[in-house]
Symmetry: C2
Subunit: 568 residues, 2 copies
């Protein structure tokens, strides 16, 4: 088939971007090719995006995939709108062989062409960011601006970062080598060697509800860029953003002369548990998963034929020891607790505060002062309903709502959750965060029988203000929860070099990413692609980090062919 | 403690070598800093090495490790000599915490210092290559020259290659980054970020009988160079080479100002199964294993807290389609089948030969011609007992001997195994290879019930001359065994571009390393560090390759600490 998108066109259009991405992952300075501001996408982009989203509702999402034996899908927006879109349900015995058959040509295309095709996919997704923003908003419950940024440019950045890592990894070994081994007075032994990056097989992406694109793109693009076919199994409540992604990918692949079946969609029937069935297929050799610890552990134990990358639950801690910007600290924490109703794997949960209080630039503050002032800061941040809606978004599922309601039974409530009305979406469940006081005495968390509520993840806008006996105790509790439960993020506020060193050492030993003294416009729960690592891969919250060499290096293998030099 | 080996000394002595190694893994041209010829080590080296080996026998091997609760060891050389050396048996509850405690200072030393210390260890091992050669010979049963080369310089090369990969991987991320994100008209957001490579934990090396150093060094040095402590659990019959390695490593670490407990030895009591106990300890976060598929699979399934790298059994195939150097082909294959009595994971087992014969530069040859001529070539190669002993070495264990004896019951014997007397070691079991004719008709190997002997690994000097219906059938059988059983090596002889393409495509799809038309002094069962990959990590014979980015990238994690730029 004649490619509409030639290699030369792709090279001219995207190689400079790839080079910039490669430079960014080396320096880890700020870089992004994807604008964050909605207005950067053109005057009509918002209206066009809304119209495109509206046009998708109530219809079949056609993808022209082989092996579609049924149509499935029952997404209802956390904002109360039924999407009524149905998607392909796969006959794996037909779809997976078709995907495998597509791989040799993709493999032979080589790392550069694969990277450039991936960048073209991302570029077309970027052009439709407003449409994706609607899709992410109405599946995750994120407020519009967050759905736009995290679901659009930030997710695209993470995808491109994975492409850059995948490309760099594959070209570390040359295509050819001439090998000549001296043999003293005899002729040298001479071989010609060729090396080729080959895919592992079909990669399965098991998507999550809260960040379908942001958490999905790294694995998807890392696998595709390393020559694998990718089967996308979205969360049943967050299909649309990944279905759109699959559609764009298939279009670009076909235009570039490859089989569109290198990327395909698989959507569950209600209660089917399709992810389990697909994860154990022999064709599936890579799995990327974001979600519960329970299913992540299941995948790790039950899919031995595949390399499994998981991001699971964790308990994120902030140690509050002292600060020279009390107001800035409170504002920063209030924002982190509120953003997307705390429904981020990176949202702080345990705020460890010395029982005897802390020192600040505004004078000494008791434990109750800190808790009360933080509660006030949250109230102030969310006092205006319009602003509250813009920050909080909607509660993503009934379990989160139940956790909010149950939190008040766990201890003294320092900050009560309240309902916020959303005038645009009256059926949305919008709640402000709840904060509960807890006793962090060592005997309550140390030892086998300890069962303090703050020792487990309580996903959603629930945080615990845990009174500890000292900063050193706070660090020990941080170590304990990180070692046992994992952590995606750790924060700390301190003006003490000694405490800073303790916290830093704990994070180095327990392998957790640390943000120190954030008081401005950067938040502990946000990471930037090309610069920040998301997760460490070294504690129980995740077995991989976004993105590093380890995230891509085992998605392909290198096959060597060697022959006597005379032959070549 | 004052380091006797300063950082400046290490830098001056080893940085140029590290740079050469880094260049070699980029170009994959021939390179080695370790001489292959025994005479290169000095006039008295051979006698000194022999004397040093003799002095070790009949004694305790003192290592001054914490937590030694017993002494164990019962090595008997395959050449018939009892070594009578006893080694530390660990109290893991004492030893493992001591190893963990040694890690933070090693972590803080950084990638370069770790790499240079590893190179100093290798350099001291290199200086004692003759002593190691004796130790490898009298544990593996390799003949002296092979024990010297494969156990000495080639193993040291593989260790250095792992150090180079580990170093390169860790310095891909900078130590520091300044991050400045534009905010339109407002001030940019500015953070200072630091990144540090942190170890996973204690790495467990489970050694093998046949190549204790060659197969052990890559994992040992990859783990150590990435900041982990390494606990070495040798095969009970091949302790000494790794015990010497541990001793040298501990000496160098201490001299460089680090705790010697970063490397320790653990030796089984008879029948204890110590590897299982150690592999499931929570401190153990990395495992490297070479050996049986059964135990490799056990480790992969039962040590979920660790990243497990395994090299297991496989079925290695050579496709014989045609050749323009019949004599060279026969000589090359005869050598590969004979070297170390075929007791290599890379030795060919299945020789697939068309039933109707092959074309050669010496005219057409029938299946029987090829088999007969190959048998003659082996006989000729091993006709002289001195030469036979120098090539074959000794049979490593009674199971291999039993397999040789059982082989004649599997089919028509094309080449019978014979006993060779070893005048220097009358108790050694020395055997020439056996080759058995087999029918490779498709119905005998295709389908669920097929149980042809050539479908499983028969470790030792047993090969099968399998008559196939065509070259295409040979490639299908190659695909089948590689997919189901794995392969460390594939060889092929062909002058047909079409057949070459078929074999190459099969190797790319089944992920196996291919050697084409080897007729000279390079053999399918040998790979050279810095240039050849050993295994692919993509078929059931091994889940990792020696050595590539994937082999090192997940042995450490990167911890980031970010803080407002004003603080730095």
């Amino acid at each position: 088939m004649a490619a509409e998108l030639t290699a030369a066109q792709l090279l001219e259009k995207h190689r400079p971007t790839l080079d910039q991405a490669l430079e960014a992952i080396r320096t880890r300075a700020y870089w992004s090719p994807h604008p964050e501001h909605p207005k950067a996408y053109g005057e009509n982009a918002a209206a066009d995006g809304q119209a495109a989203f509206d046009a998708l509702r109530g219809k079949r999402f056609e993808l022209d995939q082989p092996g579609t034996d049924d149509w499935a899908g029952e997404e209802v927006s956390p904002y109360g709108i039924g999407l009524n879109i149905s998607y392909p349900h796969p006959d794996a015995d037909v779809l997976l062989p078709a995907m495998r058959a597509a791989m040799p040509a993709w493999r032979d295309a080589g790392p550069q062409t694969r990277a450039l095709v991936c960048l073209e996919i991302l570029s077309r997704i970027s052009a439709r960011t407003h449409e994706f923003a609607q899709a992410v908003m109405h599946t995750s419950g994120q407020a519009f601006m967050m759905a736009f940024q995290a679901g659009g440019p930030h997710a695209q950045d993470r995808g491109m970062e994975a492409v850059a890592y995948a490309y760099a990894e594959q070209v570390r070994t040359p295509d050819q080598a001439a090998w000549s081994k001296p043999q003293g007075k005899r002729d040298p032994l001479e071989l010609t060697k060729s090396f080729k990056a080959v895919p592992r097989g079909v990669a399965l992406l098991v998507g999550c509800n809260t960040f379908p694109t942001w958490n999905g793109y790294p694995g998807l693009f890392a696998s595709l860029a390393t020559g694998n076919a990718v089967l996308v199994k979205p969360h049943p409540r967050a299909v649309l953003p990944l279905a759109l992604t699959v559609r764009v990918a298939r279009e670009v692949l076909a235009e570039a002369g490859f089989s569109p079946d290198l990327v395909a969609l698989a959507v569950d029937r209600p209660g089917e548990g399709l992810a389990k069935t697909l994860a154990t297929r022999p064709e599936v050799r890579i799995i990327d998963y974001t979600g519960s610890t329970e299913f992540g552990d299941w995948l790790e134990a039950n899919a031995p034929q595949a390399r499994v990358y998981t991001e699971k639950a964790g308990v994120n801690t902030v140690v509050i020891d002292s600060t020279d910007d009390y107001k800035g600290m409170l504002g920063n924490l209030a924002f982190s607790l509120s953003l997307y109703s705390g429904q981020m794997c990176t949202t702080p949960q345990n705020l460890l505060i010395p029982r005897d209080g802390i020192t600040t630039d505004a004078g000494p503050k008791s434990y109750d002062d800190v808790v009360g002032d933080l509660a006030t800061a949250v109230d102030k941040l969310l006092g205006d309903d319009a602003r509250a809606n813009a920050l909080l978004g909607a509660i993503v599922n009934p379990q989160v709502k139940e956790r909010i309601e149950a939190a008040s039974g766990l201890g003294e409530v320092a900050l009560a959750s309240r309902e916020v009305a959303n005038p645009d979406f009256p059926d949305a469940t919008v709640r402000t965060p709840v904060m509960v006081k807890m006793d962090g005495a060592r005997k309550l968390w140390e030892g086998a029988g300890a069962d303090a509520a703050y020792l487990s993840e309580c996903f959603g806008p629930v945080s615990f203000a845990v009174a500890v006996d000292s900063a050193a105790d706070a660090v020990d509790l941080l170590r304990h929860t990180t070692r046992v439960k994992g952590a995606m993020t750790v924060g700390a506020y301190t003006t003490s070099g000694e405490v800073e060193k303790l916290v830093e050492e704990a994070c180095l030993e327990e392998c957790a990413q640390l943000s120190l003294n954030l008081t401005g416009g950067v938040y502990v729960n946000q990471t930037a692609a090309f610069s920040d690592f998301h997760g460490s891969g070294g504690n129980p919250a995740a077995n991989a980090a976004l993105c590093d060499g380890a995230f891509v290096a085992d998605r392909f293998r290198t096959v060597e062919v060697r022959r006597p030099a005379r032959e070549s």
